[in-house]
């Protein structure tokens, strides 16, 4: 049994079968990559995991509990954090505040009326936030408005926001898209380090095969909403079906 078990998930948008009978099992403390051409349904699958979409049929179990029927914030509180394909951050807030919010969410739950405390007096949370920003090489940008960050920095900020929650399952939707090569390599190193340091499971969607093959323990190939193959990276590389699905796509 994996920490995440997706069974028989279907999702239609009008006439379009975005997901067709998807089964997926992600083992605890592994990195599971999901690859596939544009429009394969990768993001739709993640949406079904975090409560943004409800699958038409099928079940999604996280750590033995169903996530279906739960609201996004409840699912997050179960231990699933997600980095979106287009960065979702608090644009009006500073980088530091962006990271403080998940710190509070993790400590205080979905709601707490802490109207008479002062953000800066929360020593341990401030330290956590500063630590993750240092890890992300963003500590010198802590006072910047996050809306004025570069696209790559926004992505790294969003990753910091997810990581500081120490989720049990981290979902990453193209975490290196829009990043410079050097930043991509930094991100790979960072994710590797996190994987070694913490008990964390990751499901990662990525078009950059360099990233996929540097990180993944297992890979699922998705095409037109259905998983084609699932295997270890070495086997996936030369798989004829994969070549076919990617015809002319990535390397």
């Amino acid at each position: 049994m994996g920490i995440l078990e997706v069974k028989g998930v279907n999702k239609r948008f009008g006439g379009l079968q975005a997901l067709g009978d998807v089964n997926l099992s992600v083992a605890e403390n592994s990195v599971h990559a999901i690859i596939g051409p544009n429009g394969a349904g990768k993001s739709t699958l993640l949406n079904c995991l975090v409560g943004k979409l409800i699958p038409d049929t099928g079940s999604v179990m996280f750590d033995g509990q169903s996530v279906l029927g739960r609201t996004p914030h409840e699912i997050n509180q179960m231990g699933i954090s997600r980095v979106f394909q287009t960065p979702e951050i608090f644009g009006d807030l500073t980088v530091f505040e962006n990271v403080m919010i998940p710190c509070f969410a993790r400590r205080d739950g979905a709601f707490r009326l802490h109207a008479f405390e002062t953000v800066m007096n929360e020593q341990s949370l401030v330290e956590q936030a500063e630590e993750i920003l240092t890890d992300m090489n963003m500590i010198d940008k802590r006072h910047m408005h996050s809306a004025s960050l570069s696209r790559g920095d926004k992505r790294r900020l969003e990753m910091a926001m997810c990581l500081v929650q120490e989720p049990r399952l981290l979902l990453l939707d193209e975490p290196t898209a829009g990043m410079a090569r050097a930043d991509t390599n930094n991100t790979i190193d960072l994710l590797r380090e996190i994987k070694e340091k913490r008990d964390i499971t990751m499901a990662i969607i990525e078009h950059d095969m360099h990233v996929v093959f540097s990180l993944a323990d297992r890979i699922t190939v998705l095409a037109q909403g259905t998983p084609l193959v699932e295997d270890i990276p070495e086997k996936i590389k030369g798989h004829p079906k994969v070549q076919e699905a990617y015809l002319g796509q990535a390397q």
């Binding site: 996004p72 914030h73 979702e88 707490r112 109207a115 405390e117 929650q165």
Partner: protein, 400 residues
């Protein structure tokens, strides 16, 4: 001190000193001089500055932080007024029970209206709040007349029980014997200053309300409210439920409005339904935006500016204008009066409208932004090398 950093403490201290000295500062022109009509240091006007300041501070906690634009906040103000007058009728003229009840009742009322209205956001939320407020307004005039006394307005009659009224307690609103209308006059040369008990009571309440607002702005709760405004989607996927946060902000701002209503009735023991009308709700929106939504001091400035224009500009009439321009040749004098006429007296709305438009177009951050720009201009002249010390593109401190 007080859980505030140096900067906020300075701001609070400045506001406190300004409140303390307002009777002097707002009367800069000697009594009887031509400019005396621009003086604003009268008890009832100063009380209004403060009371609407409280109203706007509370409104800003909802609108400035979460971005939810309520068009029905006057309903809470009206409810607060009714609650206070009822306490006068039932218990007596001590204002403390009335003000406490106004907080309680407006809080409960805001909880009910907020719970329903916050199911929607954006324009639909605004319309829902407007609908509720207009409904309250209409009900106060009709079905609820037994409670609100309809068009006459709620007031205290000699036949009212006033159970807690002692034999020698004052027969007008008072704070444990201190009459709200008690005024101490001081004459210094040509100036006449009026130190009014009611004004100072309101000012103390406003300082407490302002202090609480600062604490909210700097708290994790305040940060969450700004997160609501910025990106609710991200908030949900970060494990936070935006609904209770917005509802709490709605209730808090409703209680500020109720407090303002309670104070209004405490200064003048009367409550009418017109206080709930949509124009009154719109006014607090104008105040907040004019001063600077999301800033700490902005709403107070906006409230002061609008109340000043309303009371001073509207009093200027053509004969006063003729006096001012009497030094001009007759034809020119008439022309000048003719040109200015639409902007004064009943035309003060036009002046307000123009000022509002100019502010929104050129100073989207309101009067506070104007102040900041002027401040920056001076600082840049002062020391040109200052910029090197600051990191590039530092985000402005919230609520300067």
């Amino acid at each position: 001190m007080l859980g505030l950093d140096k900067r906020d403490l300075t701001l609070l201290a400045i506001v406190a000193v300004l409140c303390l000295c307002a009777p002097i500062l707002l009367n800069p022109f000697p009594t009887g001089s031509e400019l005396a009509q621009f003086n604003a240091g009268y008890p009832d006007l100063m009380q209004r500055f403060i009371i609407f300041g409280i109203f706007a501070i509370g409104f800003n906690i909802l609108f400035g932080l979460t971005g939810y634009l309520s068009f029905g906040h006057a309903a809470f103000l009206g409810v607060g007024s009714y609650a206070t007058v009822w306490m006068f009728k039932l218990l007596g003229y001590n204002i403390v029970p009335g003000i406490l009840l106004s907080l309680l009742v407006s809080g409960l009322f805001a909880l009910a209206i907020g719970y329903i209205s916050l199911r929607r956001s954006g324009i639909y939320f605004s319309i829902l709040t407007l609908a509720f407020a207009q409904m309250s307004f209409a009900l106060a005039y009709s079905v609820l007349s037994p409670i609100t006394n309809g068009e006459t307005g709620l007031q205290v009659y000699g036949t009212d029980p006033q159970y807690l009224m002692g034999p020698d307690s004052p027969n007008i609103p008072h704070l444990f014997g201190l009459e709200m209308r008690a005024t101490h006059f001081i004459e210094v040369g040509p100036w006449l200053w009026q130190f009014n008990a009611g004004y100072y009571f309101c000012a103390v309440v406003m300082l407490v309300a302002f202090y609480i607002a600062i604490r909210i702005f700097r708290s994790p709760f305040g940060m969450m409210l700004r997160a609501v405004k910025s990106n609710q989607q991200r908030m949900r996927y970060t494990g936070l439920n935006p609904r209770p946060y917005t509802l709490a902000a709605f209730v808090i701002s409703g209680m500020y409005a109720g407090l303002a209503g309670g104070l209004m009735a405490s200064m003048d023991p009367l409550a009418g339904a017109e206080r709930m009308q949509w124009t009154a709700s719109g006014e607090v929106v104008l105040m907040t935006i004019l001063g600077g939504a999301g800033t700490l001091i902005g709403p107070v400035l906006g409230a002061g500016m609008i109340k000043y224009l309303e009371n001073i500009l509207s009093k200027i009439n053509d004969s006063i204008l003729h006096q001012w321009f009497s030094f001009l040749p007759d034809g020119l004098e008439d022309a000048a009066v003719f040109m200015i006429h639409p902007f004064i007296g009943k035309g003060w709305h036009l002046t307000l409208g123009i000022i509002f438009m100019l502010v929104v177009i050129f100073l989207p951050g309101g009067l506070v932004e104007g102040g900041q720009r002027i401040g920056r201009l001076f600082r840049r002249r002062g020391k040109a090398s200052d910029d090197a010390v600051h990191p590039p593109k530092a985000a402005p401190h919230v609520g300067e």
